[in-house]
């Protein structure tokens, strides 16, 4: 059975990726694996879901018309590797991620998880815009 892996963060980009991933999974008749992860190097990181936000996402996944599961790998390491590892494990056809617009300065100082995923993943990657 095929699978689609979605890299999810609670933002417009993340939600766009989730929508696109759900549509792909429906098309392919496969299941949806939503991955929410973090490098874990800051004390507080609200992109890593917990509490109410986590319950909300689970509830949202339950309403989808495709089989969906949520994973939060707790390796506290590279986000790109986390996604790729999950994709390997479930035998995914596709990884779906969201892209955000970055300014020239933003590109200089911030490392981008998205570009690392695009360049290093061993699977096909679908990048959607918010």
């Amino acid at each position: 059975m095929s699978a689609v892996v979605v890299g999810y963060v609670p933002s417009d980009e993340g939600r766009a990726a989730l929508r696109a991933g759900a549509a792909e999974a429906r098309l392919r008749g496969g299941r949806l694996v939503v991955v929410n992860t973090t490098r874990g190097d800051a004390l507080v990181d609200d992109r890593f879901l917990a509490g109410d936000a986590l319950d909300d996402l689970r509830a949202e996944l339950a309403t989808l018309d495709v089989e969906a599961e949520l994973r939060q790998p707790q390796t506290w390491d590279d986000v790109a590797e986390d996604l790729d590892a999950v994709a390997d494990e479930v035998g995914a056809d596709l990884i779906v991620i969201g892209l955000r617009r970055r300014s020239a300065v933003g590109k200089l100082i911030l490392g981008s998880a998205a570009s690392r995923i695009l360049l290093t993943a061993h699977h096909a990657v679908l990048a959607v815009k918010a």
């Binding site: 973090t38 490098r39 874990g40 190097d41 800051a42 004390l43 507080v44 609200d46 506290w76």
Partner: protein, 498 residues
């Protein structure tokens, strides 16, 4: 009344635009470091010690006072919203505070912590202003032998009372005392532990040691266990304090102050014990015992008041005797020494305007904290989102810059690194850092007094126990070492018998 007139003069000096700016910088910086776990006021003041070379004393101490008080405030914010106490004195606040935030009463918990800190800080600072001159009149009579006894008590109290293991505390103290010995002996000109290195003849600079133990040690410690998952932030929303909350809070505030100030002022020091006592008392006295364990406002109000009152209390022995009883106080003492000022009974007369301006600026900083902090909670929480690699890289840069600025000598950077590794090892094996810093700074002062006493008595050791004051102080010091293990053994004996 004399003290109050002096205090008004102090306010006159403190309320200049420049000094107010220093107070603002200090309080903001202090709150920021108080919020971040692992970075405390002691480390911050140590990192900022090099600025004492360019700043005049009043401005520098106003800023340090702001950092000192701000650190106490900041600790409560993280305790309540994250259940990660930034400071050891905020541990008790975290218990009920975090439960309150979980129950959606975060705003009320932050409110009672902030107002309680303000009330306790104000009362305790006022007590400091009233008590300090009285202590000074008593303290002028003490001789070198008495002073040595007091220093010994401070050493023992800081090493054995704080922290889990007295043996580790004493070992850490010995490291500090040893580092304080390096350099040229003032009385004989003998070189001690300099290994023939000429740069060590002046001794190891306090700034380098303090920065190495606090900043480099902590940075290495964090780096060694860099990645663990993020913690969840409670929302600071909910209703602000209601009339009912206020009614339940004001008594714990006052009781907390009553616990905190004397404990801070005693040379047994520390803000942890009064917060424990305050929590235990509130738990016993409360009319709402069912709330404890589910977020009782009394359990936040009391300990928060206690730790701020203790912070002010610690300044009593520092300003009147030159006796630091906490790591931050020790660093402040080093700052005084950096200006060539030796805190002691004479400080209040020789540096009267500096001391009263400092005390006045404590009132001002305290008020600023109350006004600034509640609206800025969101900003403080954002601070916690900074990835640790960036944060600690910045700290390491400041640490190296500051240590190099002391003498412009590359050897200082080597010492910084070596002692930084020592600081890391101490954290790794659970040795407290505070006794080492206090030993380093107070050690040479104690040694000078001991040798002076022995010189006066012509080498007769009985001079150390010749005055009733020193006998009492030394007995208390002995009790502090021997007491806890004996008590433990007695209790164990009882347990076995039963």
């Amino acid at each position: 009344m004399d003290a109050l007139t002096q205090l008004l003069h102090g306010f006159g000096d403190a309320v200049t635009p420049l000094n107010l700016l220093f107070a603002l910088i200090g309080t903001l910086l202090g709150t920021a470091v108080g919020v971040l776990p692992g970075i405390g006021p002691a480390m911050t003041v140590a990192l900022l010690l090099p600025i004492t070379y360019v700043l005049e004393p009043t401005g520098a101490f106003i800023m340090f006072a702001g950092i000192y008080y701000g650190g106490m405030y900041g600790g409560s914010t993280t305790s309540i919203l994250l259940n990660t106490p930034g400071e050891s004195s905020s541990i008790m606040t975290a218990i009920e505070g975090n439960l309150m935030a979980k129950a959606g009463r975060g705003a009320a918990a932050l409110g009672t912590a902030a107002i309680g800190s303000f009330v306790a800080g104000t009362i305790a600072t006022l007590l400091l202003a009233l008590v300090a001159p009285v202590v000074v009149t008593l303290a002028v009579a003490i001789g070198p032998a008495d002073y040595f006894a007091l220093a010994l008590l401070a050493f023992v109290a800081v090493s054995t009372v704080l922290g889990a293991s007295p043996v580790r505390g004493l070992a850490s103290l010995c490291i500090g005392l040893f580092l304080g010995l390096v350099g040229t002996d003032l009385l004989t000109g003998q070189q001690r532990f300099t290994l023939g290195v000429p740069q060590l003849a002046d001794g190891i600079d306090v700034v380098v040691v303090a920065v190495a133990l606090f900043a480099v040690g902590e940075a290495l410690h964090v780096a060694s266990r860099l990645r663990h998952g993020p913690v969840q932030v409670m929302s600071s929303s909910g209703k602000f304090m209601t009339r009912e909350d206020l009614r339940r809070s004001w008594k714990p505030w006052l009781r907390g102050t009553a616990f905190g100030f004397p404990f801070g002022a005693l040379p047994a020091g520390g803000a942890e014990i009064p917060t424990f006592l305050s929590y235990a008392t509130e738990r016993r006295l409360t009319k709402h015992p069912e709330d404890f364990g589910r977020g009782a406002i009394e359990g936040v109000a009391g300990p928060e008041a206690a730790n701020n009152a203790a912070a002010a209390g610690v300044l009593v022995p520092l300003l009147t005797l030159g006796l630091p009883t906490s790591a931050t106080a020790a660093i402040l003492l080093a700052a005084f020494q950096g200006y060539g000022i030796q805190p002691g009974p004479t400080l209040l007369t020789t540096e009267s305007s500096l001391v009263w301006t400092l005390i006045a600026s404590l009132f001002i900083g305290n008020t600023m904290l109350l006004v600034l902090n509640l609206p800025l909670v969101g900003l403080w929480v954002k601070l916690l989102k900074i990835p640790r690699p960036y944060l600690y890289a910045g700290i390491l840069m400041f640490a190296s810059l500051g240590s190099y600025a002391v003498n412009a000598d590359p050897l200082d950077l080597v010492i910084l690194l070596v002692l930084g590794l020592l600081g890391f090892a101490m954290r790794r094996f659970g040795w407290p850092v505070a006794p080492a810093v206090i030993g380093l700074i107070l050690g040479p002062v104690a040694e000078t007094n001991l040798r002076r006493a022995l010189a006066i008595s012509d080498g007769d050791l009985t001079t150390l126990v010749s005055s009733p004051f020193s006998v009492v102080v030394l007995l208390v010091a002995v009790a502090a070492v021997v007491g806890p293990p004996l008590l433990r053994r007695a209790r164990r004996g009882q347990a076995v018998a039963a």
